[in-house]
């Protein structure tokens, strides 16, 4: 609970600060807090991915972008109340919806009843992998992961095309951000 509250504090820091460098670093802190929360919630694989990708690669990409653009956010020209109202309205509806959720941490919740017991019972026998997350990701849903890899490949091509191609009169500015 303390970790989750710290995440909320980091989020409001992101919301208030005008210096984008501080915002990006706070985003990294936020990702590490999220990874810690995921460890507490038994999602160790997700936590490792979040710590390396969310706090590592994302922060590096953000800092690279800041290097190529600007660090200070301009003061808002007009303050509109509409986004705040929309956000609060959406939040109220969502919070109302949470009361229909099954309580946290209970083994009788519907999510634990259907497919998962079979995976837990059979995955070692069928795939020889003790980690069920790995078994499902790489074996049972291997095509899903293949599609995911395709998405990353496409994104990488897109980044390269955006940063390198289509630059007619820009002179000799090589693309400095290639590691996607």
């Amino acid at each position: 609970m303390a970790l989750l509250t710290m995440m909320v504090v980091a989020t409001f820091g992101i919301l208030r600060l005008g210096n984008l460098f501080a915002v990006v670093i706070l985003g990294g802190i936020y990702s590490f807090l999220m990874a810690t929360v995921l460890v507490v919630l038994d999602a160790v694989d997700v936590a490792m991915t979040e710590a390396s990708v969310g706090a590592g690669i994302s922060t590096v990409l953000m800092l690279g972008t800041l290097y190529l653009t600007k660090v200070e956010e301009a003061a808002p020209v007009r303050r509109s109340i509409l986004p705040l109202l929309i956000a609060l309205g959406v939040g109220a509806v969502l919070a109302y919806g949470t009361f229909d959720f099954p309580p946290f941490g209970v083994a009788e919740a519907p999510i634990h009843q259907h497919v998962v017991p079979r995976y837990l019972a059979k995955s070692v026998e069928e795939t020889m992998v003790p980690n069920v997350v790995t078994a499902v990701l790489a074996s049972y849903r291997g095509y899903d992961t293949l599609g995911e890899t395709t998405v990353i490949f496409t994104a990488g091509i897109g980044v390269l095309l955006l940063l390198r191609g289509g630059r007619k009169g820009a002179g000799a500015r090589g693309s400095k951000e290639g590691g996607a």
């Binding site: 919630l41 800041l66 301009a74 986004p83 994104a155």
Partner: protein
């Protein structure tokens, strides 16, 4: 103490909602594009929490099969969110590349400066907000 029970049963969901709404607000209300992308990241992370939280069982352990344990937390949300994280960083990289290109073309990453006169009536704040948020 039923009120305390309700708080414990739903605290994760409420934090999820708060993070989601904060991310949404940053994406919609802030004109700076890097900040919009950070907000999008917060929004995505709240979705991770939304998925992982119901998978936890009190007294369970991480879903790695071992004879010493009998109760495991739910592995399926973990698999889904692993995919979501990786796709999220792909989206982020593409968005940041777009920001760099926009900065080269317009010399600014502020929406108000790009869209012309700041005292225009039209509210362009939500223009790029719905692109990657799902």
């Amino acid at each position: 103490m039923p009120a305390l029970d309700v708080v414990i049963a739903h605290f994760n969901h409420w934090i999820t909602v708060v993070l989601m709404v904060a991310g949404l607000y940053v994406v919609v209300a802030r004109g700076n594009m890097v900040k919009k992308l950070v907000g999008l990241g917060v929004f995505q992370t709240s979705v991770y929490l939304l998925y992982i939280s119901p998978g936890k069982i009190f007294g369970g352990t991480a879903p790695i099969i071992d004879p010493r344990f009998t109760v495991y937390s739910n592995p399926l949300p973990h698999v889904l969110i692993l995919t979501a994280i990786v796709v999220g960083v792909a989206t982020l990289a593409l968005g940041l590349a777009l920001v760099v290109r926009i900065n080269e073309a317009y010399g600014s990453i502020e929406e108000d400066e790009i869209f012309g006169k700041p005292d225009e009536d039209g509210d362009g704040g939500g223009e790029s907000s719905g692109v990657g948020s799902r």
